[in-house]
């Protein structure tokens, strides 16, 4: 993440995200199954995963970043992040990039998709492009930080991805075990911010010195 950036003293912020309470049950992609082309790819309907919760309440797909740390992006020097359209779904549905970093959108399906990017922050342009099966990859960069920018396909209106654009390299996404890492954070006091698309935002204050710092977050279903 920080390749090419000189960091004299730095440490990682690590932690685990958990969810308290029972989220609503996920729902099947019925419209997907009703589509002749897309439905043929599945025996049973895939379901939404708004709440990717593990057996011990670990919560995935939470973006953890340092609040108000901006202007530190190294995105222009980082490798592109890939967003694929596969099985008439976006994979992954939650991802994060830095400002200036390339986002490459692929179409691995055998049908037409349109890639409709719908930013909410001024300065990040809305665009809507066709992507034929086997068509060339589409490349995007964004100059303004924005959480959960929507990518959608209007041909298949159940297809969504949510791309967060962060103006620094200091962020991580919680995995299936609910764990995240923000690497190589310079010493200092920070507000760590955890954002879940449905559950909102939690923050905690931390001080980073020369050793790793652990910060855990617990979201509540209201």
């Amino acid at each position: 993440m920080l390749a090419g950036v000189p960091v004299t003293q730095a440490a990682d912020i690590i932690g685990t995200i958990t969810l308290n309470g029972t989220p609503p049950p996920e729902v099947p992609y019925t419209p997907l199954m009703n589509d002749p082309t897309c439905g043929a790819m599945y025996k049973t309907a895939p379901t939404t995963h708004f709440y990717a919760v593990g057996p011990n309440r670990e919560l995935a797909d939470v973006i953890v970043s340092l609040k108000d740390v901006t202007g530190k992006s190294t995105g222009a020097n980082q490798p592109p992040v890939t967003l694929d359209q596969k099985g008439c779904l976006y994979v992954p549905q939650i991802l994060a990039i830095q400002t200036g970093q390339k986002l490459v959108v692929k179409n691995s399906d055998s049908c037409i998709h349109n890639v409709h990017c719908v930013p909410a922050v001024s300065g990040n342009p809305e665009s809507n492009q066709v992507q034929m099966p086997g068509g060339a990859d589409l490349t995007y960069t964004f100059s303004k930080p924005e959480m959960f920018m929507k990518f959608k396909c209007d041909v298949h209106p159940w297809m969504f991805a949510w791309v967060s654009v962060i103006d620094s390299p200091y962020y991580g996404i919680s995995d299936q075990a609910g764990k995240f890492v923000i690497k190589n954070v310079p010493p200092g006091k920070y507000t760590v911010q955890a954002d879940h698309r449905k559950l909102g935002t939690l923050t905690k204050e931390v001080e980073v010195k020369d050793t790793d710092v652990t910060v855990n977050f617990a979201f509540d279903v209201k």
């Binding site: 708004f50 209007d154 909102g200 279903v221």
Partner: protein
């Protein structure tokens, strides 16, 4: 030419105008399906469809949302062509000068509507979608009005005499009632007010649909289990956490919740007003009067529309139900508008008819009517 002067009836023109209005109604349905299926941007370019001329786009590629958007464009093109022919036909064959301008207005409106629909796609501006939806409704009113104006019925002066005039004394229940030819000013104002309110309701409805956020309130007749829902930040956050929409997956806002509540309240007011219109029409004009029957039709229509509104929520905004609700709104608007136009025509045509209370005057008014001709 005087409005009351004999006009050569062109039945073909009338039937063509009826057909144009019918296809406009279908077009509204096709547009409703586009929004209901969240397919408005599935064909990213305009006027071409992908890399094809719109009319040469292969049906094999009409998949998913493309089917709804592309068929909407094709039907719109057809209605545009039909309207152009209608406007030219009216210019050439209708001797009423004012009708030329009505036809021209229809032509200009359909062109503007087509361009607006295209700009909504090209500029990716959802706000334009609201205007596109509303102008579509107004255009439907205009085509229906042209169909009315070109009808034999409209142009036959005798139809603007009371249907029972000099034949049978009209009654209200068992009571004799004056055979009024005109429609009371207060009733006309009530219908006009109700029609304007329906239009406002359609604006609210279009605004709700163009939020692309699904149902902001998922239950009915209550709202989140209450008469008036909690719209605090914490409550809205909780609503969003529990929404599990597969499509239209935008988070809802307090504004959207309030907007749906306003939509519900305005619907109630409209129902009461239309019931009042029907009652007043029945009482003032007599139950056999065509306008009284038309008002009753309006009342039945609005009842069906209210049911469709409820069904839209109960079905979690199923695309076909939501679209039927849009069409019900269009029919309600057109019914009110045509009612008012007919009432205005009747009243303007026979200003000297005696008031309802002077039964003998009304029935003895034939010479005066003849003089009006």
């Amino acid at each position: 030419m005087s409005e009351n002067a004999p006009v050569k009836i062109n039945r073909s023109l009338h039937w063509y105008a009826m057909l144009t209005a019918f296809f406009t109604f279908l077009l509204l349905g096709a547009g409703g399906l586009v929004t209901s299926h969240e397919a408005g941007m599935s064909v990213p370019n305009w006027p071409n469809s992908f890399d094809y001329n719109m009319f040469l786009f292969p049906p094999s590629k009409w998949i998913g949302g493309i089917f709804y958007e592309h068929t909407h464009r094709l039907i719109a093109s057809g209605v545009g062509l039909m309207t152009t022919i209608l406007a030219v036909w009216v210019w050439l064959k209708d001797s009423r000068r004012w009708m030329h301008w009505v036809g021209t207005a229809a032509f200009l409106l359909v062109v503007a509507q087509g361009v607006l629909g295209g700009l909504r796609v090209v500029l990716a501006d959802a706000q334009l979608g609201i205007f596109h939806a509303i102008i579509g409704q107004l255009f439907f009113v205009l085509t229906a009005a042209i169909a009315l104006f070109t009808s034999r019925w409209w142009q036959n002066w005798e139809n603007f005499q009371h249907p029972t005039f000099n034949k049978q004394q009209p009654t209200v229940g068992d009571r004799p009632h004056a055979g009024k030819l005109d429609v009371g000013c207060s009733l006309r104002r009530l219908v006009l007010l109700t029609t304007i309110l329906i239009f406002c309701q359609l604006v609210i409805g279009a605004s709700m649909r163009q939020q692309h956020a699904g149902l902001s309130i998922p239950d009915f007749p209550l709202a989140y289990g209450k008469i008036w829902p909690d719209t605090s930040t914490a409550a809205v956050q909780s609503y969003n956490e529990h929404r599990m929409n597969v499509i239209a997956e935008n988070p809802i806002t307090a504004f959207q919740i309030v907007l749906q509540m306003v939509h519900r309240l305005v619907a109630l007011v409209i129902f009461v007003l239309i019931a009042a219109c029907a009652w007043q029409a029945w009482r003032q004009l007599g139950r056999k009067d065509p306008l009284a029957k038309f008002a009753l039709f309006w009342l039945i229509l609005i009842l069906g529309q209210a049911l469709l509104g409820a069904a839209t929520i109960w079905s979690n905004k199923a695309a076909d139900v939501a679209t039927a609700h849009v069409l019900g709104g269009a029919l309600s608007l057109v019914t009110g508008a045509l009612w008012y136009i007919i009432a205005f025509r009747r009243s303007a045509a026979l200003p000297e008819i005696a008031p309802a209370t002077t039964i003998s005057g009304a029935y003895g008014g034939a010479p005066a009517m003849a003089a009006n001709k």
